[in-house]
């Protein structure tokens, strides 16, 4: 450990002002602050003691919270792969297959994203910002397993540049970069992002499908009116169904939610209100269920278990930068996400899943929600002054 510290201290002057590698200072700083919490102390006036929390710690906790969904997703990819082939396989064979299908997606996401971020570190002269530590893992988890790797790289680079860096980097972006990646792929390569074959490993490559096997997600079945093809509620909760890699297991997601809530990193107000809003809209649709749209009759609680709803509620809507920033605003923001997600799912014939759209839409509206919340405080203060 001492050797590492000594080495860093030795080469550091090269990167400081006047050193020959001066232009690379922010890149060097990024690596140094990754390896070490520096010995920088509080300034002369102000708070002299500080909470040990920093952005790296917050991001680390979110990554840990994503691990259950990641691990289950890997196993699930393997499970459905072998199901589609009609073959038996052991637990390790399933997990192993999923592992080698998912890890490349994770690697491409991180390399493309961090690579782009480092270019901006060099240009801007700031340390690398930690936002992508989480986005890099979110991106593969919201994609179908058969998505081509080059598409993931392209979409990630697009999202980092146009979703984040052009606005000023972490803390300044308007929409969720991981969702922007997904949206880019969805609109640019729709055939690769929807359908019945992309959710199961190998299926879109035309590998042998056993009779009676369908790679359709439950939402796609519901949208097509095939309500009899839906899995059992237990399967929905545990996640034994095809879908994006990390979204299927509500159980795994709830474990992640518990980690985020216990550590104080995730907002319970947003999570709860997303579920409440979704449930409310689904109930309304149940009441008005028409024969022309059997999807409307899908029981409200099942909406919360299917598709990207739980994943979006716990990991996407709770992004502090793109969501509402006032505590009151968070209730409204979350509720509308859930509400609109179900409307898009059920009422819009083109999209069986609506969570991504709802969150992106509410990302754009979040500042407006906050504005009106703040206005209430401002008006109260003015009224009090007149009294």
């Amino acid at each position: 450990m001492k050797a590492l510290r000594n080495y860093i201290d030795k080469i550091k002057p090269n990167f400081e002002k006047g050193g020959k590698l001066e232009k690379w200072q922010s890149v060097f700083d990024s690596f140094e602050t990754f390896l070490y919490v520096l010995g920088d102390t509080a300034p002369k006036k102000g708070a002299h003691i500080r909470d040990a929390i920093d952005m790296k710690r917050v991001m680390s906790v979110v990554v840990i919270a994503l691990v259950p969904a990641l691990l289950f997703g890997m196993w699930n990819v393997g499970e459905f792969h072998f199901l589609s082939l009609g073959e038996d396989a052991s637990f390790m064979e399933k997990f192993g297959h999923g592992f080698i299908r998912v890890i490349p997606l994770v690697l491409v996401s991180y390399i493309a994203g961090l690579g782009t971020e480092f270019v901006f570190v060099y240009i801007k002269g700031h340390e690398i910002e930690e936002g992508f530590l989480v986005s890099g893992l979110l991106i593969p988890l919201i994609l179908p397993v058969d998505v081509p790797l080059w598409m993931v790289a392209l979409a990630t680079i697009f999202a980092v540049i146009f979703g984040k860096e052009v606005f000023g980097g972490t803390g300044m972006n308007i929409v969720n970069p991981a969702l922007l990646t997904r949206a880019f792929l969805f609109f640019a390569y729709p055939s690769k992002m929807s359908g019945d074959t992309i959710w199961v490993s190998g299926l879109s490559g035309g590998e042998g499908v056993v009779d009676g096997f369908s790679g359709a997600t439950p939402l796609a079945s519901a949208a097509a009116g095939a309500m009899d093809k839906l899995p059992s509620t237990m399967d929905m909760f545990m996640g034994y169904l095809p879908g994006s890699i990390g979204e299927t297991s509500v159980l795994a997601i709830l474990i992640g939610a518990a980690i985020l809530l216990f550590t104080g990193v995730g907002s319970w107000k947003i999570m709860l209100s997303v579920f409440a809003g979704g449930f409310a809209m689904a109930l309304i649709l149940n009441v008005f269920a028409a024969d022309t749209n059997p999807y409307m009759a899908l029981p409200a609680y099942q909406h919360l278990l299917l598709g990207g709803f739980a994943f979006g509620a716990v990991f996407m809507a709770t992004d502090p930068v793109t969501g509402a920033q006032t505590e009151t605003g968070k209730w409204i923001y979350g509720f509308l996400i859930g509400f609109i997600a179900i409307i898009v799912r059920v009422v819009n014939p083109a999209y069986p899943e609506g969570v991504m759209m709802a969150i992106l839409l509410m990302n754009v509206f979040a500042p407006l929600i906050d504005h009106y919340v703040i206005q209430t405080n401002i008006k109260k203060r003015l009224k009090r002054a007149k009294a």
Partner: protein, 450 residues
């Protein structure tokens, strides 16, 4: 007494090094200083120079824009040095104390028998006026104003803060006279704020001529901004004055005995102090005379004041005017390998992202390490947990950054000062210099309306 106001948002930080209730009188040491830099926005004009003989209460300098506000010597002796900084800015007026301890004479009378202007004049002449500060802006009060009320907090809830019931045990007579004097210079009440636990001793309960308010809950219950906001929030155009209880007793003594009593009881605290305790000192004492060898070895930080709002000083420097404690903590200037990723059983955090949550009430030794680099605002909802005022803290800070005067006013800049945001600065994930921002915002407002 009306019902208890419960402060629900805030944080008590349990630190090692609380002062034992043992009092030692340190008498007079060699050198003392009055520092114009202690007073926000002050442009001092000197009335003495090196070699000038002074008594306790002799004016040293005055406020250029309000010449009736005098700053007087806490000791008798000779002015030894005027310490200047950049652009000849006066940093310290240093006085070499003599054995004689001679006092200037001021009006000795019962405040109840005096007019408002006579009371103000006495306080101004003695040099005690700077002890009276105002909200908005947390600057020295303007003698030409009449405030709608005066606030005195009978407790300090900051980490390791002195116990005023201990420090003022023998001074209740002077405290009452001080209250009587202050009552005359406001149109409204003198509000005395007490804490359910910290004032359980009941020392202040016998004080007359005040309106009592009782608070409970964690810090920042003792900051004036929080107290005003929870009792009757300050509106634009209103002025409230506030005085530390120790200075209220000094004002009382001025009227009771006709002298400026420059002594006060302070607490020497902090994990790096060998024997933390209380000392009777004279204002403007140098830190070494208080600490002597009562400090552990190693790289330490001397803080005039508490760990939330104090100023880091060299040990040869002098205790600041508004500070009633001296805190010594270790400097955290060593890098830690992968420090952000350790389990952190001993690390302090308001979040439960480190395993220190297993031991919540443990008294900790905290150093001055920042634990991370400065970032933009990312995490939301964290300030709201430690900011018990009807104000949106992050939005106000953003308004300050963009210097939007209208928005700052609408969001409550008149109601806040640095100390109200101190806990926000401690727990901020993005390590932003929040208190510095708040003072910048206040200065913009002062300039706008001057």
């Amino acid at each position: 007494m009306s019902k208890v106001i419960k402060i629900k948002k805030g944080l008590d930080i349990h630190l090692k090094g609380r002062a034992e209730k043992v009092l030692v009188d340190l008498g007079i040491s060699a050198n003392y200083a009055v520092k114009p830099t202690d007073f926000e926005g002050l442009t001092p004009k000197l009335m003495v120079k090196a070699g000038h003989e002074v008594k306790i209460g002799t004016p040293l300098f005055y406020d250029k824009y309000k010449p009736e506000i005098l700053f007087t010597s806490p000791v008798s002796g000779t002015v030894s040095e005027i310490n200047r900084g950049e652009r000849r800015r006066i940093l310290e007026v240093i006085i070499k104390a003599d054995e004689k301890s001679e006092y200037e004479a001021f009006t000795k009378a019962n405040p109840k028998d005096l007019q408002k202007d006579e009371i103000k004049e006495n306080i101004l002449k003695s040099g005690l006026w700077p002890a009276i500060r105002q909200r908005p802006y947390a600057i020295i009060a303007n003698p030409s104003d009449t405030p709608i009320s005066i606030f005195i907090s009978g407790f300090d809830s900051a980490p390791l803060a002195p116990d005023y019931e201990f420090a003022l045990n023998d001074d209740m007579n002077d405290f009452q006279t001080g209250v009587d004097a202050l009552k005359k210079i406001t149109d409204g009440n003198v509000n005395l704020i007490l804490h359910q636990e910290l004032n359980a001793g009941g020392l202040f309960k016998s004080i007359k001529n005040v309106e009592f308010h009782e608070f409970s809950g964690p810090h920042p219950a003792s900051t004036i901004g929080v107290q005003i906001n929870n009792i009757k929030a300050l509106n634009k155009g209103e002025i409230v004055w506030y005085v530390n209880p120790i200075d209220v007793a000094k004002i009382g003594k001025l009227f009771n005995e006709g002298i400026f009593d420059s002594t006060k009881i302070i607490a020497l605290t902090g994990s790096e102090v060998k024997m933390p305790q209380y000392f009777k000192i004279t204002d403007g004492a140098d830190l070494l005379s208080i600490v002597r060898d009562n400090v552990k070895s190693g790289d330490v930080r001397y803080i005039s004041g508490n760990v939330l709002t104090g100023e880091k000083l060299e040990k040869t420097n002098f205790l600041s005017y508004y500070d009633y404690q001296l805190t010594i903590i270790p400097e955290g200037n060593q890098p830690e390998f992968l420090g952000w990723g350790t389990p952190g059983f001993g690390k302090f955090s308001m979040t439960r992202t480190f395993f220190s949550w297993l031991n919540p009430k443990k008294e900790m030794t905290l150093d001055s390490n920042l634990h991370g680099g400065e970032r933009p605002f990312v995490v939301t909802g964290e300030f709201e947990k430690v900011f018990p005022m009807d104000i949106y803290p992050m939005q106000l800070l953003k308004a300050i950054i963009i210097e939007d005067i209208d928005l700052m006013e609408q969001l409550g800049i008149y109601e806040v000062a640095e100390e109200d945001f101190a806990l926000c600065e401690v727990i901020n994930t993005s390590k932003i210099e929040i208190q510095k921002l708040v003072r910048q915002g206040i200065n913009v407002m002062i300039k706008e309306f001057s």
